[in-house]
Amino acid sequence: MKLQHHLGGLENLGPVAYEPRVFVEDWEQRIFGIHVAMMGLSTHLGDAVPQYPIEDVPSAFSSVWTWADLRKGAEAMHPFAYFQYRYYEKWLGGIGGFFVSQGYITEEELEAKAAEYLHDPGLELPEGGDERIDDQVIRYLREGDTPRQGPAQSPAFAIGDRVTVKDVPPTDHTRLPGNLRGRTGTVERVFEGDYGYFCSTGPDGIGEPMPVYAVRFEPTDLWGELAEPGAVLYGELYQAYLTHAMEEQQ
């Protein structure tokens, strides 16, 4: 199992760091901006609902980059490192590594350039570039990339159904919170339409369009004697993660 897939309910972590700022260091803003630009220039947007003219955008970026790619990187980390590094440090590691592994840049030129900026932090960034790149990124921010696809097919579960969460095989990426595996809850809402995911998660089971449900879990069914009274957890779960509860099948 991956610790990153099972954070919910992990014990003994101590107090929460209530840091209200979004960016705790100025540099973090830059990696956030780069990530958003990559999502807005991702080649998969040519097939997205707004049908972005991505092939006509004069950017050298020719890859798919979505939340799934960023998340996969974080989920691939050593679990201790996941806790060691701050949020945007993980982004910087993952995104820098991506551009090197895909051949856009080399580790050597990144190191050399970083040494220049480390030596002289006041050194300016290069200027210029084709404005149509920025226009596409801003258009993506304004119009988005919905995972909803096609009309709703007949959902397998209805409101009020008792459902048990499958214990699907662990994969490099999932949208199933680990603390819900094997647990039984009640369908409280069937979302309209079917929802795909950025990529196939293989034996984990999501990717193709499918119904999604809001499932209500009672605290004692999740946490046993550690449960807080009256604290109900809702999971938003893809149909592939659910099966009819055993108690209903009898």
Binding site: A37, W67, R71, Y87, K113, E143, G144, V232
Partner: protein, 207 residues
């Protein structure tokens, strides 16, 4: 933030230099332009801020029928208001409001990553993304709320929404006492990001 691990003394300077080097190389190679990152950041500084959420909440407080529509079909209700372009854009494609009542308090979390309704609340604060919050809020949300100053009555049902699917949840907090006769604009000024995530209530202006 955790200090359990050792870090190099120039930790932040190294990251700052590396991200600047990465941005410079991406500009040189034509992946992005010299203005892309600034334009992205500008979008969040001027258009997509928690002010949008505050305006939505204030309207819900003053118009019960809007409040009802807001919970039932959040994107359609949000589209009724005069807000910046892109409320249904990135990370706002499937907004979903949940309303607090005297008997129910809602809290939004994301145990798998950091899903957040950008157009309504802007970008998530650090604590929301911190693994400790994500882990603890799932199992002991009442204790976590108490630590931040919200001592929820035991009779109140606490609903924790783990953002593992397509929806981007946000909370319509309860209107505080002592706000009778206030304008929508005055009410919006009271609404905090924390209250729209659910780790706080909106304080009464009289308090």
């Amino acid at each position: 933030m955790t200090v359990q691990f050792g870090y190099p003394e120039d930790r932040e300077a190294r990251s700052a230099a590396r991200v600047r080097a990465l941005e410079a190389l991406l500009i040189e190679k034509g992946v992005i332009t010299g203005a892309t990152v600034d334009k992205v950041l500008g979008h969040f500084e001027t258009d997509m801020t928690p002010l949008n959420g505050a305006k939505i909440v204030a309207r819900a407080w003053t118009d019960p029928e809007f409040a009802e529509r807001l919970v039932k079909d959040t994107p359609a209700a949000v589209a009724e208001l005069d807000l910046p372009i892109g409320m249904d854009g990135a990370e706002g494609e499937h907004l979903q409001a949940v309303a607090n009542t005297p008997g129910v308090h809602n809290l939004v979390i994301c145990t798998l990553c950091s899903c957040f309704p950008w157009p309504v609340l802007g970008l998530p604060p650090y604590w929301y993304k911190d693994p400790t919050f994500r882990a603890r809020a799932a199992r002991e949300p009442r204790v976590v709320l108490k630590e931040t100053g919200l001592d929820l009555d035991p009779s109140v049902e606490l609903r924790v929404w783990d953002s593992s699917g397509h929806s981007r949840w946000f909370v319509i907090p309860q209107r505080p006492a002592g706000t009778d006769g206030m304008t929508e604009q005055e009410l919006a000024a009271l609404v905090t990001t924390e209250s729209m995530i659910g780790i706080a209530e909106v304080p009464s202006p009289a308090a």
